[in-house]
């Protein structure tokens, strides 16, 4: 029979977070279908099955356990959930299963010597926030102008939301701005008091570190309270179409960070529309969501996944891979501008360079601004790089504490040991 590789798809298509789940996993599957139509990866086709997690850790873990041994064994697991992916760090290590968390995840997991099976390609929380501060600096005409500026961060009342507080404090300390963190209790469908606080302290910018319904409500409340939306700047989980469309006119001029621009003006996207949707195999029911931020993120993730597989095949041969071989692929994942061009994803996918010490590898993002009348995002900046220096020490401390707590011997990251299919 034809050789295949099996990918479990732990999607969430119902419940409070369905908007993200349908877009992201839809994008992944559409890209997989495109590759399969073109003959797969090194001649090996991808097969998959879905499992609904409803974004719940328990369901996600159950899905993982149910699917990991199917069809000769899964090659990696990408649940798009901080909770699920973090919950699986140790299980993944024991099962030699790469756990993927694109653009998010446990930040300390960047240290591949301590978290060999955990990958968070793209950017991490600290990159994200340093890029946002740099961007504001740009808007103000230079980082030096940040002095004396006031930045408020409206964050989702969860560990995800809180994670950036300390970092923002150090970032502002470094650049002389002042920082105030304001919590919005989950789910965030009522923000009157938070915005009253903002009205009182009158910050120059408000960073929105939101999630789900909290985002449109923030924009609408900003409007109601007379705060200019153009000074509200969204983070990586507040940057989707689903965040701004519900806010209607209130979202006009809202800006947000992104690793992958929205829109369909990319060759790879056009190919998907022609070959996959043309053949009636598309995953999205609502075709207007093609080119939306979440869906494009899914395409990006699809590129990352399959490039990792391709790179692993370069080393292990054009055949179906095992999960630990796939791990090698992820760890040596390099996406150069040329390769991105070949993939037809220029402008969509950032350059990536993962290695044993850095399981993030990107640290780049752009900014986009919402035009409510045209209902589209416009890119308003070039790639900006995160303050890797500042974040590294925090990441090291976290990872080393983790290693000590869990009796983990960091693996040496020299070039050759990196090649080994090592044991725990």
């Amino acid at each position: 029979a034809e050789e295949t590789m099996y990918v479990p798809i732990p999607s969430y298509r119902v419940g409070p977070y369905a908007a993200g789940g349908t877009g992201y996993f839809g994008g992944i599957l559409d890209y997989y279908n495109l590759l399969n139509a073109r003959g797969g990866i090194g001649g090996v086709k991808l097969i998959w099955s879905e499992c609904e997690t409803e974004y719940s850790v328990e369901r996600g873990v159950e899905c993982y356990k149910r699917l990991k041994d199917r069809e000769g064994g899964a090659v990696f697991f990408d649940p798009l959930s901080v909770g699920i992916s973090t919950a699986l760090i140790e299980t993944g290590r024991a099962d030699k299963m790469p756990i993927i968390a694109v653009n998010h995840g446990k930040t300390a997991g960047q240290r591949g010597d301590i978290f060999p099976y955990y990958f968070m390609p793209g950017i991490n929380t600290y990159d994200e926030h340093s890029i946002m501060v740099h961007y504001i600096g740009g808007l103000e005409g230079g980082m030096e102008n940040l002095k004396g500026k006031k930045i408020a961060m409206l964050f989702h009342g969860s560990p995800y939301g809180r994670e950036a507080i300390a970092f923002m404090d150090s970032m502002c300390e470094k650049h002389g701005c002042s920082h105030e963190a304001i919590e919005v209790p989950h789910p965030g469908n009522e923000q009157q008091s938070q915005w009253l606080k903002i009205r009182k302290s009158k910050p120059d910018y408000v960073l929105l570190r939101g999630w789900g319904v909290m985002n449109p409500v923030a924009m609408q409340t900003a409007k109601r309270m007379g705060f200019p939306v153009s000074r509200l700047i969204g983070n990586i989980w507040s940057n989707s179409d689903e965040d701004v469309i519900p806010a209607g006119g209130a979202a006009n001029g809202y800006q947000a960070i992104t690793t992958h621009p929205a829109g369909t003006d990319f060759k790879v996207v056009q190919d998907i529309i022609a070959d996959v949707y043309g053949a009636g195999k598309g995953d999205l029911q609502d075709k207007s969501r093609l080119g939306s931020v979440y869906w494009n993120l899914g395409v990006l993730a699809g590129v990352v996944h399959t490039e990792a597989l391709r790179i692993a095949q370069e080393r292990f041969g054009n055949r179906a891979l095992s999960s630990s071989e796939t791990r090698w692929g992820f760890e040596n994942l390099v996406l150069t501008a040329e390769r991105i061009e070949e993939l037809g994803a220029t402008g969509l996918v950032p350059e990536l360079n993962l290695n044993c010490m850095d399981h993030v590898g990107g640290h780049l993002a752009k900014f986009q601004q919402w035009d409510a009348n045209a209902r589209q995002w416009n890119i308003v900046s070039d790639w900006i790089e995160g303050d890797v220096e500042l974040s590294q020490s925090i990441i090291d401390a976290g990872a080393e504490k983790y290693a000590a707590d869990n009796n983990i011997e960091p693996r040496p990251c020299s070039a050759d040991s990196n090649d080994d299919d090592f044991d725990l």
Binding site: P16, A18, Q192, Q194, M225, G226, E242, D243, I245, P246
Partner: protein, 302 residues
Amino acid sequence: MAFFLEVLVGGLLSGVMYSLVAIGFVLIYKSSGVFNFAQGTMLLLAALTFVSMTERQVDFKIAFIITLVMMVVLGIIVERTVMRPLANQSLLSLFMATVGLNYFLEGLAQGVWDSAVHGLELGISNDPIFLIDEFPALGLDIIISQFDIAAAVIAGTMILGLTLFFQYTRTGLSLRAVSDDHMAAMAVGIPLNRIWAIVWAVTGVICLIAGLLWGDRVSVSFTLTAAVLKGLPVILIGGLTSIPGAIVGGLIIGASEKLGEIYLAELFGGQGIEHWWAYTTALIFLMIRPTGIFGEKQIERV
């Protein structure tokens, strides 16, 4: 001072939004003794149906009427299939049935429509009113949301109407009788089924109105069901059986929530305490009056 006033006014106005959810609860409880947990999902279903139609270019009025009819029909179906067979059962059973209904509707709403986030604009202006600009004489630098005022007017009208209805009409009295003792109500010839059908249908309408206002305010998505959690402390403070209680409870919770979040949260290192603070406020009131401010006293005679 101005800031305090602004917080207070904002709180009171957003409290009215909670009252909107609470009214539906009270209506059903008052007339059938059922603590309807499916309220939030009914709200979602109404808003979702409406928005799915307007997104498909259906005219606003037509969409409203279709949704209205649908909610009424839903109310009648619920009465037929859930409430009627459970007449005369314990209140706990009835409550649990609505929990089941909630699950059912949750699956249904998302299955028929989808689980995406939709925007909804009713055309009520979102722009704030700056009092200092409008009435410089007052000298208060306060902003008031036009939207909230509109919502408050709608809620106030509904509450006034329902209160009058319950106190002064025959049907109102029948509703209260039914909630007291199903068996006796049947024995004096109160048509239980018709009464319940009316109540559930009216609740459906309230859900639609609340769903639209909430939908405009926070967008229409699954999270709308969380509105219920805001409504709960409100009705409990006001008293499960009191319609005016729903509005008073809403005002209290709204104000206390905002004031607490702004002035009290400092005690907890600036953490958002809104969620449990609303419930704590409710708890404090209940410790003083165990059946809410306007709730009927529980009658226990031996």
